[in-house]
Amino acid sequence: MSKQRIIPDPVTGPDTRQYWQAANEGTLLIGNCTACARTYFYPRPHCPHCFSDKVELIPAKGGGTVYSFSILRRVEVPYCLAYVTLDEGPSMMTNIVECDLHRIRIGDRVRLVFHASAGGQAVPMFTPTGHD
């Protein structure tokens, strides 16, 4: 079995507990502003577009496309850092996993998966859907 990269634990806060709890239950939550009707990532208790506090967390459907990526090679276990543009609009930093890293291209369709951090927190990541 190949060596797995150890995912550092996210240091969560009182305002993001719901996000990480949902992740443990298999759901990716994103920010949605009911004042200006725009989505955003990462979640926070106000809208970064209009600063309204009329915001909510909504579940992402889990589909997206690779906006950009970079494979870090000079480490023990190479990994792919990426921004994925969610179908809901915003892009999030993530890893592309469960695939041949060297086949990843910008524009690839990806779907949501979860991988556990060192301490067992589910962390949202993505895997290509069309690499077979």
Binding site: R5, I7, P8, D9, P10, V11, T12, G13, T16, W20, I30, G31, R38, T39, Y40, F41, Y42, R44, C47, P48, H49, Y67, S68, F69, S70, I71, L72, R73, R74, V75, Y79, L81, A82, Y83, L86, G89, P90, S91, M92, M93, T94, N95, I106, G107, S117, V123, M125
Partner: protein
């Protein structure tokens, strides 16, 4: 036309590995060097500017005072604005403002670091970073480090505009042509486009030679009032325009192909009343080759997406191309003390304006220069600082 302030002292520490010197000592040595260059003494300094590289910064809020205490400064103004590698470019502008406001007359700006002596893997390991940053929990699990963050920008630029590794390589080739004449440069061998694209891949699509060096050392600047500048036996290097602006992730609606220079650049040009075509020499922060390319576009030296063609075929090489860039060899070949490139960028621009660059790279009739830096991550959050300097 009299400027509100002038750069009258510069010094770049010659060391590139400082095993036998402390961080505070390096700050003192560069301060001494810049004061000697200006023809001033520590007693003349009435303002001090420093950033996150200062000895003691690990005690938030108190590091600058430790440094001031260590140096024995007797000052009436200070500014500790931190924006990573662009800090010192912004400090020049801030010092000019403070001088114009009558707060001080002689400002000392220092930078120093010893990442090599400390054995830090600064490109491929996470930097010490506050877990309290709001975004940290949404990013650190994914392993962002300096090289892959800049890789994200390069990969997207290639996708949108067809930029190639060969075009990026030209930026390193230009730096190497300049560094061969700099006896202090870490990498003095002239390299080719093929050398760059055949060097090991570090973080796709950035090769080893797309990355700057890691070096110890530092530098210092003396910014003075017009009254003081006229008493010194130095060419008058005036601060004509400046800009300082952040780049953010826009709530996830990101554009990784642009930088904060889209705001800081036009603001500096407007203040100076000049255009990119007027610039005879440019110091452009070169943490990576892609950094230079995106900044040149955002500053208006070419249109967005045209950077790859703009930098090709030796355009950035002094004596060959239309826009000589980083004639000291830049961060790519010469020096990148403390992983912060802004200080050496200002120093080489002043050398060019004083006609003190190496004769092989000195730009003819160099009377107008631009300095620009990005502090932080090109792909994400950073501070962009632009300066336009003129020899009077």
């Amino acid at each position: 036309m009299t400027s509100r302030a002038y750069i009258s002292g510069i010094y770049e520490h010659p060391t590139r590995k400082a095993d036998d010197k402390s961080l505070a000592q390096l700050h003192a040595e560069v301060a001494r060097g810049a004061l000697a260059d200006a023809g001033l003494t520590m007693a003349d300094v009435d303002a001090y500017y420093c950033a996150g590289d200062v000895a003691g910064w690990d005690m938030p809020g108190t590091g600058p005072f430790s440094m001031i205490d260590y140096l024995g400064l007797n000052i009436r103004h200070l500014d500790t604005t931190e924006s990573w590698g662009s800090s010192y470019i912004n400090h020049v502008s801030a010092a000019a403002d403070a001088i114009a406001a009558g707060r001080c007359q002689v400002a000392l700006i220092t930078l120093a670091g010893r990442p090599r002596a400390e054995g830090a893997a600064t490109g491929t390991a996470p930097r010490a970073r506050g877990f309290s940053a709001a975004e940290a929990q949404f990013e650190l699990p994914y392993g962002p480090v300096v090289t892959n963050l800049y890789g994200l920008s390069a990969m997207r630029h290639m996708h949108e505009f067809g930029t190639t590794s060969e075009q990026l390589a030209w930026i390193k080739v230009a730096a190497s042509h300049h560094a061969q004449h700099n006896p202090h440069a870490m990498l003095r061998d002239v390299v080719t486009v093929e050398d760059v694209v055949n060097s090991p891949m570090i973080a796709d699509p950035l090769h080893r030679m797309d990355c700057c060096v890691v070096s110890d050392g530092g530098g210092a600047l003396i910014v003075v009032s017009p009254e003081v500048a006229r008493t010194l036996n130095k060419p008058m290097v005036a601060i004509r325009g400046s800009g300082y602006s952040p780049q953010t992730t826009q709530g996830g609606w990101i554009d990784l192909t642009k930088s904060g220079a889209v705001i800081s650049g036009p603001r500096a040009f407007a203040e100076a009343g000049v255009a990119p075509a007027d610039i005879k020499y440019a110091s452009i922060y070169d943490s990576f080759t892609i950094t230079v390319l995106i900044q040149l576009e955002d500053l208006g030296f070419c249109a967005k997406g045209e950077g790859g063609r703009f930098v090709s075929d030796g355009r950035l090489i002094a004596g060959q191309g239309g826009l000589p860039v980083n004639t000291d060899g830049g961060g790519l070949c010469n020096n990148h003390p403390s992983n912060r490139g802004g200080m050496t960028k200002v120093i080489e621009a002043v050398r060019q304006l004083r006609r003190q660059a190496h004769p092989k790279v000195q730009v003819d009739n160099c009377d107008l220069a631009l300095v620009h830096g990005t502090g932080g991550a090109l792909a994400g959050r950073h501070g962009s600082a632009t300066l336009i300097l003129e020899r009077e």
